[in-house]
C-alpha cells in the first residue's frame, strides 16, 4: 500500500529533502516541510533565500534537482502534462506581483482559468461564478475594470479571486502583503483567514512581514541557507534566543 494513503486525510503537502540550484547558487539544499489539512503554514525567510523558488517547485514552474513533493497524496514530480494541469487546478497560486493579465478586464482575468478546466456536457453559469469569486474577496461589481485602474490591495484581491474560482484545496501565497501599506496589509491578512475558513484550504504563506506572520500563521517554518532552520508557532519563535531567529523580530 502507498505509505501516503493512510494519512492522506491529514497531510496535504509533504516536501522531503528538496534541492534546487541555479549553477553554483544552491538555493534549496535539503528542505523539508509538511502542511496538514486546514493549516496555514508561513515560510519565513529573508529576501533572496529561495522562498519563491520553493513554491514554484511545488507547482512545477521550476523543476527541483532532488527530493520529493507530494500534494494531496500525488507525487508532483512524476506527472504527465494533463495530470499536472489537473493538480494545478487544485492549487491556487497568488503571485508576488499579483500577475493580473494587463490586457484583459477583471472579468476576463477571472474567466481565464476556466477555459481549460470546465467539464464538457455540464452547463456552467460563468457570470455567477465570477460574481461569487469577486464577492468572496469583497470586490463585487468590478468586472469591467482593467488591472491598471486597481490599487495594489485590489490587485491582490483580484489575484486571490482568480484562484478561488476553481475552488482550490491548497493555496500558495507569495509575499501577499509586501509592498502594501499596513492597513491594506492587515485587510489581506484577514482575507486569507476568511479564505482558510470558507474554502477549507490548506496554505503556504511566504512572508517576512511579522504582522502577517502573527495574524495568519498556525505554524512558522524558518528558511535559512536552503534548509528548514527552525519551526514552531509565532510565540515559540518569539521566545527563541537564536540570533538568526531574533533578527526577524527586531
Amino acid at each position: 500500500m502507498n505509505p501516503m494513503a493512510e494519512n492522506r486525510n491529514e497531510t496535504v503537502i509533504e516536501i522531503r529533502n528538496l534541492e534546487k540550484s541555479f549553477g553554483e547558487n544552491h538555493v534549496l539544499a535539503g528542505f523539508n516541510l509538511v502542511v496538514n489539512k486546514g493549516e496555514n503554514v508561513v515560510v519565513l525567510g529573508r529576501s533572496g533565500t529561495g522562498k519563491s523558488v520553493l513554491i514554484k517547485c511545488i507547482v512545477r514552474l521550476l523543476d527541483p534537482h532532488a527530493g520529493t513533493i507530494h500534494v494531496l497524496g500525488t507525487n508532483m514530480l512524476d506527472l504527465k502534462q494533463e495530470e499536472l494541469d489537473n493538480m494545478r487546478a487544485k492549487i491556487g497560486f497568488l503571485f508576488q506581483s499579483s500577475a493580473l493579465y494587463d490586457s484583459m478586464t477583471v472579468q476576463e482575468n477571472l474567466e481565464f482559468p476556466l477555459r481549460r478546466h470546465l467539464k464538457r456536457n455540464v452547463k456552467y453559469d460563468i457570470a455567477k461564478m465570477v460574481d461569487d469569486a469577486l464577492l468572496s474577496v469583497g470586490l463585487k461589481g468590478t468586472q469591467k475594470m482593467s488591472p491598471a485602474e486597481l490599487s495594489g490591495g485590489m490587485r491582490k484581491r483580484i489575484g486571490i479571486a482568480r484562484t478561488l474560482i476553481l475552488n482550490p484545496e491548497v493555496m500558495l501565497y507569495d509575499e501577499p502583503t509586501t509592498g502594501l501599506d499596513p492597513v491594506t496589509g492587515r485587510e489581506i491578512n484577514h482575507l486569507m483567514l476568511e479564505v482558510q475558513e470558507k474554502f477549507r484550504t490548506s496554505s503556504i504563506i511566504i512572508s517576512h512581514d511579522m504582522n502577517c506572520v502573527r495574524m495568519t500563521a498556525n505554524r512558522v517554518v524558518v528558511l535559512i541557507e536552503g534548509k528548514n532552520y527552525a519551526e514552531g508557532t509565532y510565540d515559540d519563535l518569539k521566545k527563541s534566543q537564536d540570533k538568526n531567529i531574533k533578527q526577524f523580530f527586531d
Binding site: L61, D85, R88, F95, A99, Y101, D102, F112, R115, H117
Partner: protein, 260 residues
C-alpha cells in the same frame, strides 16, 4: 583581458543566441500545430498585427512608389526611354522595395510591440500565471503571434504593392500626362507572375522572422522592467538584420531558379 577574449565573447554570445533562437523555432513547429488550438487569440492577433498596420504600410509604400518613379525619370530620359518608366519602376517596387520596406517597418512596429508585450508579461509573472492555470503560454502567446505575422506580412506586402504602384502612377504624371489605363497596361506588360511569386514567398519568411524574434526576445526577458525595453529593442535590431539576410538568400535562390 586579452584581445582574443575581447573578440571571442561577442562571437560566443552570438552563437549561443542563434542556437537558442533555433530551438525556439523548433518548439514553435512542435507545439504550435497541436491541439488545443487558440483560434480566437489567432484572430485577435491577426487583426492587431495586420489591420492595424495598414495605415503605416500604405503611407510608406505610397511614398516609395512616388519617389522611386520621380528619381528614375531623369536616368531614363537620357536614353529617350521614358515610356519604359512604369514597367521598370513597377518591377523593382514589387520584387524588392515594397517587401523589404514593409518588412522593416513591421519589424519596427510589430516586432518591438511583441517583444515588449510578452517581455512585460514575463517579468510580471503573467506567463507563469497562465502556465499554472492550465493554458500553455507558448501556444497562447507565441504560436498565435508567429502565425499571425507569417500570414499577415504577405498580405500587407500585396496591399503595399498596389499602393506603391498607385504612387508610381502619380510620379509618372508629374512629368507627363498618362491615363491610368495606359499606365496599368504598361505595368502589367512587363510585370509577370515570376516577379510577384518570389516576393510573396520571401514576405512569408519575413513575417515568420519578425514574429519569431519578437516572441523569442520577449519570452526570454529577464532583469525586470529594464529588461523589457532591452528586449523590444533587440527584437527590432535582430529581426531587421535577419530580414536582410533572408532577402539576400532569396535573391540568390530566385537567380539560380531563373537560370534553370
Amino acid at each position: 583581458m586579452t584581445l582574443g577574449e575581447g573578440i571571442s565573447k561577442p562571437i560566443k554570445t552570438f552563437f549561443i543566441e542563434a542556437g537558442e533562437l533555433s530551438q525556439f523555432a523548433i518548439r514553435f513547429f512542435r507545439e504550435g500545430f497541436r491541439p488545443p488550438y487558440e483560434f480566437q487569440e489567432l484572430l485577435r492577433q491577426s487583426y492587431e498585427i495586420g489591420y492595424r498596420s495598414i495605415p503605416l504600410v500604405s503611407f510608406t509604400a505610397f511614398i516609395m512608389g512616388l519617389v522611386i518613379t520621380i528619381q528614375s525619370h531623369p536616368a531614363l530620359e537620357v536614353f529617350g526611354a521614358e515610356s519604359w518608366l512604369p514597367s521598370i519602376v513597377s518591377v523593382s517596387l514589387v520584387r524588392e522595395i515594397t517587401p523589404v520596406i514593409t518588412a522593416l517597418i513591421c519589424a519596427g512596429k510589430i516586432g518591438s510591440s511583441i517583444g515588449a508585450e510578452i517581455g512585460s508579461m514575463k517579468v510580471t509573472e503573467q506567463i507563469d500565471a497562465m502556465e499554472v492555470s492550465g493554458t500553455n503560454p507558448f501556444k497562447y502567446l507565441v504560436a498565435t503571434r508567429v502565425l499571425s505575422t507569417t500570414i499577415m506580412l504577405p498580405l500587407l506586402v500585396i496591399f503595399g504593392d498596389m499602393i506603391a504602384l498607385y504612387g508610381g502612377f502619380l510620379g509618372v504624371n508629374i512629368r507627363g500626362v498618362t491615363t491610368f489605363d495606359l499606365y496599368t497596361t504598361q505595368v502589367f506588360n512587363k510585370l509577370t507572375f515570376g516577379d510577384v511569386l518570389p516576393s510573396i514567398i520571401k514576405s512569408i519568411f519575413f513575417g515568420f522572422v519578425i514574429g519569431l524574434v519578437g516572441s523569442f526576445k520577449g519570452y526570454t526577458t529577464s532583469n525586470g522592467t529594464e529588461g523589457v525595453g532591452r528586449s523590444a529593442n533587440a527584437a527590432v535590431v535582430i529581426s531587421s538584420f535577419i530580414v536582410f539576410i533572408v532577402d539576400l538568400l532569396a535573391a540568390q535562390i530566385s537567380d539560380i531558379l531563373h537560370l534553370l
